[in-house]
Amino acid sequence: MVKTESVLKKTDNSPTDEELIARFQQGDNYAFDLLVKRYKDPLLNFVYRFVGEREEAEDIVQETFLRLFKNKHYYREIAKFSTWIYTIAGNLAKTELRRRKRRKLLSISHFMSTDKDYDIPDEDSNPERDTNTVITDKIIQQAIDKLSPKFKQVILLRDVQGFSYEEIAQIVGIPLGTVKSRVNRARLKLQEDLQQLMNEQ
């Protein structure tokens, strides 16, 4: 879970995101720095899982902050700052995916090699699983890569970033009921894709 602390719990003295963006809109650029500091890593993780490439992800996060810097006056307090900035980043990521031609998949030997640190211990701790195969983060990322952008966006916001369904509805700009069913379908699709990837090994 990489959601920012400010979103999860607000400590007494630290300004809220909304206070910071208000200060920034009034010309306080130090507030901009604080927002960057607060959001650069959470956004990077979101975009990284979205586009699957670190360098690209970092570039998109930079672009997100540039948009914030240039378009600060477009922000209105009706929305939470976090949903606003994630909307910008998500749209940039989707645009990038559209622009980019289909990435060639990593060879199986590539992700089979080593991923020891993140391996699921073994079947002892997962007695339900009918397979001994180790699921690595790389395989999970491959399965994520296979999702359509609209599934990808909601499952990353929900399961990786930890946003509520209401927040995701704001970010994606769709009704709450649609978010819920889309997250569910995305999970089922990810499960299917992952199973397929595992069987291909």
Binding site: D33, V36, Y48, E55, V61, D117, R129, I155, N184, L188
Partner: protein
């Protein structure tokens, strides 16, 4: 008994405990009798936990320096080479950029020092430390950036963009 499709459509709600007691027991009944849906449910439960626990990555050390370049570059392109407002200045000199980048490299928790940037003199570092708002408040550096620093770093100053790209590569090499 509810159908497989119905059961699957309720899996997330079941997982997140947002069903009514009646709905909940209908899903439970289905899962107890349908091996296939039970397997899917176990997988989805496993997956969501796994997604939550994916290792987080961090922005590279010169992220803020890059961002500053991008912001100032953007303003340069839009015919506002120097925008002076309350306490900050765009349109930085090369020396100022290097100084600010240096400040950043040195003040972020860098496990691997960046050799390229560390060649900079202490003089620059001292001046850079006066900057209170590293990303956009660059006024003190701009004012301070004197000619002798520019001379010391002539080659760097000419292509700050290039220096930073090399720097990114270094960071990536370290991380991979």
């Amino acid at each position: 008994m509810i159908s497989c499709d119905t059961a699957k459509s309720m899996l997330s709600d079941y997982l997140e405990h947002t069903l009514t007691p009646d709905e909940r027991s209908s899903v439970e009944e289905h899962l107890s009798q349908c091996h296939e849906c039970k397997r899917v449910y176990d997988d989805v439960a496993f997956l969501t936990a796994k997604l939550r626990a994916l290792p987080a990555i961090q922005t590279s050390e010169d992220f803020d320096g890059q961002l500053r370049l991008r912001i100032s570059g953007n303003y340069a392109q839009t015919n506002h080479p120097v925008i002076s407002k309350k306490g900050f200045t765009f349109g930085l000199s090369g020396a100022a950029l290097i100084a600010v980048i240096t400040f950043f490299i040195l003040t972020t928790n860098s496990p691997e020092p960046q050799p390229l940037i560390q060649q900079s003199s202490n003089q620059i570092i001292n001046r850079a430390n006066q900057v209170s708002s590293p990303i956009v408040r660059t006024q003190s550096v701009s004012k301070a950036a004197p000619v002798e620093i520019a001379n010391d770093n002539d080659s760097l100053n000419q292509q700050p963009q290039k220096v930073n790209q090399e720097n990114i590569k270094l960071v990536d090499q370290v991380k991979n």
